[in-house]
Assembly symmetry: C2
Amino acid sequence: MKIVKLKDFKINDSFEEFYNWLQKDLNQVNKIILESLETDSSLITELSNHIIGSGGKRIRPLLTLATARLCHYSGNRHLTLASVIEFIHTATLLHDDVVDGSKKRRGKKTANFIWGNKSSILVGDFLLSKAFKILINDGSLKCIDIVSNVSEKISFGEVKQLMSIGKLNVSESDYLEIIGFKTAELFSAACQLSSEISEIDFTKKKSLKDFGYFLGIAYQIIDDTLDYFSEEKISGKEIGNDFKENKMTLPLILFFKRGNKKEKNLIQHMVQNKKLNDSDFNWVSEKMKNYDILDDCLQKARHFSIMAKDSLGTFPDNEEKRKLINLVNFLTHRKN
Amino acid sequence: MKIVKLKDFKINDSFEEFYNWLQKDLNQVNKIILESLETDSSLITELSNHIIGSGGKRIRPLLTLATARLCHYSGNRHLTLASVIEFIHTATLLHDDVVDGSKKRRGKKTANFIWGNKSSILVGDFLLSKAFKILINDGSLKCIDIVSNVSEKISFGEVKQLMSIGKLNVSESDYLEIIGFKTAELFSAACQLSSEISEIDFTKKKSLKDFGYFLGIAYQIIDDTLDYFSEEKISGKEIGNDFKENKMTLPLILFFKRGNKKEKNLIQHMVQNKKLNDSDFNWVSEKMKNYDILDDCLQKARHFSIMAKDSLGTFPDNEEKRKLINLVNFLTHRKN
């Protein structure tokens, strides 16, 4: 078995293929989103458009669209439900940026930086309420249940993450719990919604729930790993942010477990006593090389991505499944 | 990183070293066990002695003894608590053999085969009650809580396993849940008991709890993998038992997910329509080679063993920690 290293990675067209496959559906979703944002309040419209239009990959709504195709769903409800998932995600981003005090997201100024924290918080709340309003209009209690559950879990995960800031002793199992709540549950919900509106059996529903969850875990591990090891030239985004914000993500957790006494003391001193800067980050990421941290993080992501792919084993081998498996490979081999 | 293959494995002395290190303590534990079994009922004494003396590795009580040393515990309570863990484990084995209708365990006739199912069930219950009586005598409510929790979880895991028999669609996440309950929780409890009687902080207690849990998962994955891929000459035990009993363990779960339509149909037909025999097993284990199942199972066990080892990162590097890490390596590289 070959271990995937960042440097070995060759950009391939699997995301483009995936995106093109669903582009027509996604355009419809974007239309629903824009229409839902047409309000009397220019603040809501402008701020929402700013963040929703800021160029994310739209992975979560795409998951709803793609799994609906896997389930041979033939109606239009998946478009509405995909927009609900994107609203929930966007509300989370708005609140996250306030909590983290972020000034930039995807290379653009954050909403809180432009319009202030209060506006970001309230528009986040608006998007959340909007999501539920769309859901109630759709009328499925089961779908409302899925989204209200995931919404509670995301908040819970964010609170747990906040509480763990600067706590070097956070365990790997705590970390997996946190990213489970704050990321993987929404990936899972995105897949559960389309399975809910399709005529598939319980086993397949369970498979899609697992698929989304494991993919979400793998995705977040890669995200957190890139924040230490991505080459800025390629990713186009700054790295070291999690470290500078004292966030306990997987690379730092492993380093604090594996480091020697001197290294542990030094990092403890760093985290407790000062605002962390680039040279602290360079020291830490250099030291991590002695403990196989990059390789092990990628291997852990790979573990979950294999679980995600095997979850689809209950579906027949067809083109839709192949595209979803390619998506898993793309997301867990990406460089940014 | 090197992937461990069964054939690459060289027997080393790490278990012998580990065993010798704790032999004096283990002798004391055995003495407590024998004394507790001295009753007026010759059936209880003989049957219990038969199963307890049947040559297991005593991994679970050894974990209590070893982690007590890691915590620099200096009293005698760890000896009693280790015996409690062995009692719980033995009670489970007695009931398991009845449920599975097993005739042999570790090359010897099972208790149910010699004394009948009723005796095995009742002596199992006796050992369970005995464990709690010893615990109440020890007097720690916290320890009683740990053991009563794990006892409930083991039964729950066994019930879930029973319910999953022959269900080819069982998911990997179901499997991980089942082995978590039926195996990993007891490994974890064995470590929690010694952490409870030692003066260590919350973080270290959490680390030991995780350590035991992850080691238990890795251990069970290896166990289930060996039942498909061990060479009988080396292991000295028959293989293919799980398959013939229609148990849904990891290799079969992965094969049913990865196999092509024809293979899925064939195995479905096998499981539903007849008593499975050696030639069915040979077909399945041969087919598994096309889907990297051995490698992937070992890799998954390795994933959890790395997590177990990293959990100990909160303890200083010393001889006790080194011995525990060697134990993890031994247990996840073992051939029988």
